[in-house]
């Protein structure tokens, strides 16, 4: 594949092929590569040269718990987002275009609303005397308020809400490309609605789920505002920990090490997805 690209004369002949990318390359080096390298250097030089910052992070039970929390929340948020986003995306995909674009607009609009506003709104909704608890108690479903805030439940609810558009958008694209007639064909072949979903719709929508899932997972790993406001102090996540290390403890070395680990994990996941999608392209018939 790459061999073909190299042999395509049109690319070789373009005089500004590499030269045209030069300004962008300079920007990336200046504002991305240099700070990241700086971060890496700080993590192995402060307070004294060596790998002691990484040893602390991996050795200390408290830090390990933060890492575990972070991955747990990111995993749960990604899973719940997929489950919630799928029906919405499917509805958008099969809706009449005019109606679909209105619903689409509402989803996008929520994305553009200030993040802090939305998170505070959830705090109001989720607290002990909030609308959700009061309504549930009024209709007699519960007698005690549910603990919906200052725990992982609150973080998951708030994060799923914020992440939904990032899952819905790629998923709609994938689902729109699936001909609804394919599902009718599956039904006439004898597939029950569940069979048709499991054997046909789900496999066909996997590329969209993978793309959205990676996006949501990676964003969740580094999320700061929502976990901090809705998670309380006992459920610290990585981003909050880094902020605390640097702002309160002024421990740049440890903070940099944690940030660098986060970056490595993110890049590894991205590489994994590229590999999977790339493999699909070459072997699959799509």
């Amino acid at each position: 594949m790459s061999g073909n690209l190299l042999h395509r004369p049109s690319i070789l002949r373009r005089p500004d092929g590499i030269g045209g990318a030069f300004p962008a390359l300079v920007l990336i080096i200046l504002f991305f590569v240099v700070p990241v390298v700086g971060l890496l250097l700080r993590s192995v030089t402060e307070p004294v040269p060596g790998l002691q910052n990484y040893a602390t992070l991996f050795g200390d039970g408290t830090y390990a718990r933060v890492f575990f929390n972070t991955f747990l929340v990111a995993t749960v948020v990604t899973a719940v987002t997929v489950v919630v986003a799928f029906p919405v995306a499917w509805m958008l995909a099969i809706m009449p275009p005019a109606l679909g674009s209105i619903v689409f607009g509402i989803i996008i609009l929520s994305m553009w609303t200030n993040l802090l506003t939305r998170t505070y709104a959830w705090m109001v909704l989720l607290q002990r005397t909030g609308v959700i608890n009061r309504t549930l108690m009024d209709i007699g479903l519960i007698s005690e308020p549910l603990p919906l805030i200052n725990n992982l439940t609150g973080v998951t609810i708030g994060m799923v809400y914020i992440m939904l558009p990032f899952m819905i958008l790629p998923l709609v694209g994938t689902l729109r490309a699936i001909d609804p007639m394919t599902l009718r064909a599956a039904a006439l072949c004898g597939a029950s609605p569940f069979d048709a979903f499991r054997r046909i719709l789900l496999p066909l929508s996997l590329p969209g789920i993978a793309a959205g899932g990676l996006m949501v997972f990676v964003m969740s790993l580094g999320y700061f505002v929502t976990p901090t406001l809705l998670g309380g102090t006992s459920n610290m996540m990585l981003a909050a920990m880094i902020a605390q290390m640097i702002q309160s403890l002024l421990n740049w070395g440890l903070g940099s090490a944690a940030a660098f680990i986060l970056l490595l994990v993110t890049m590894a996941l991205y590489a994994l997805q590229l590999r999977l999608v790339g493999a699909k392209r070459t072997t699959g018939g799509i």
Binding site: R184, A185, A191
Partner: protein
């Protein structure tokens, strides 16, 4: 009277105020090849979808061997279907596609493998089992769809314009395949198309749809030789309609006066006309002769243009009343060619012409 295999009774389907199908009643015998023919929007696909279970009819019933299908969901109807668009499962190989209906029925592996091999050989794609649908041509994809639809031995196969996305040569090739498969499997086929040639070529019987109703149902020959309405006459085959006035009917044979004033005797009719009623006389282009025969009527025309079509020549002629008509004489081709721009008489048999109300 044998009980019909599949029976459609008084089917009606309305979408809000729009009636897509009404008064559709058909009995289909086992092993029959029945085609729903009609222009787009005539209700033929809606009728097919009611049989498939994709659309619940507003009223009426669909009975398979005497039992109503309406309360049975699509996936339990055990009906095979080939669609207009390619509906193969893109993430499965050809063999897995054909195996799919058997897998959801939880048939044992040995049976699945045997049946897949049998089906792929039926559609002559034995060596394509491992490929993905994306690597197949349109014609091959439809053949796989056919194999998939037949893999579970459904009693009925529905085909919804399965060849409309293919080019002419491929269409004819797959038409032949469909005929062969119908012959070999004996499956009852309901076929939807808007292409009259396809319908005539494939079917035992044709139901011609118009505005949600069946205009006429019968063999291709019935529809071609004995059209019951002007619509049937104009939809099946080629036709010329000459304005005429009905003068009188004696013993089922009408006397009419054409627009140029000439009088034609012995036109066959199936319905009553009053004296002086405005009518239209339908004459097939191939019913015209360049020489008079026994019991033929003459028509004064001028040849305007001719075109050569291999087996026959098409002539555009203008009648004395100024109407352009299509003439395709089966013989005298050379004569037709020489006769351009000359006034002459052409002839037709009034007993092979049809009279319809204007």
């Amino acid at each position: 009277m044998i009980e019909p295999f599949l029976s459609i009774r008084d089917l009606r389907k309305a979408f809000g105020g729009f009636v897509a199908v009404q008064d559709v009643t058909i009995d289909i015998q086992k092993g029959e090849f029945l085609t729903f023919l009609g222009p787009s929007g005539s209700g033929k696909s809606t009728t097919l979808y009611a049989i498939a279970g994709f659309q619940q009819p507003t009223s009426g019933d669909v009975l398979l061997e005497g039992r109503s299908l309406l309360s049975v969901p699509s996936h339990k109807r055990n009906i095979g279907m080939v669609f207009q668009r390619y509906t193969l499962f893109q993430h499965l190989t050809v063999a897995e596609n054909v195996a799919f209906p058997l897998r959801v029925r939880r048939r044992p592996d040995a049976e699945v493998n045997r049946k897949v091999a049998e089906m792929l050989s039926l559609v002559r794609l034995e060596s394509f089992g491992g490929r993905y649908p994306g690597a197949l041509s349109g014609g091959q994809q439809q053949r796989v769809a056919l194999a998939r639809a037949l893999a579970y031995d459904p009693p009925i196969l529905l085909m919804d314009e399965p060849l409309s996305a293919l080019d002419k040569k491929l269409r004819e090739e797959i038409q032949a395949e469909i005929r062969r498969i119908h012959r070999e499997t004996g499956v009852t086929i309901l076929y939807v198309t808007h292409d009259q040639d396809e319908a005539l070529h494939l079917s035992d019987r044709i139901a011609l749809f118009r505005d949600g109703r069946i205009e006429q149902i019968g063999t291709g020959e019935d529809l071609y030789l004995r059209p019951q309405s002007e619509f049937v006459a104009s939809f099946i085959g080629n036709s010329n309609f000459l304005p005429a006035e009905h003068l009188e009917t004696v013993n089922g044979a009408a006397t009419i006066r054409l627009a140029d004033g000439s009088v034609v005797f012995g036109v066959r009719i199936d319905q009553e006309f009053s004296q002086g009623q405005k009518t239209r006389l339908m004459v097939r282009p191939e019913a015209f002769r360049l020489r008079p025969g026994a019991a033929t009527a003459g028509l004064a025309v001028e040849f305007i243009d001719t075109a050569f079509f291999g087996e026959r020549r098409r002539v555009i002629a203008r009648t004395a009343a100024g109407q352009e008509i299509d003439v395709r004489p089966t013989s005298d081709m050379a004569q037709a060619h020489e006769g351009i721009a000359s006034s002459r008489q052409i002839f037709f048999d009034p007993a092979a012409a049809f009279l319809f109300p204007a």
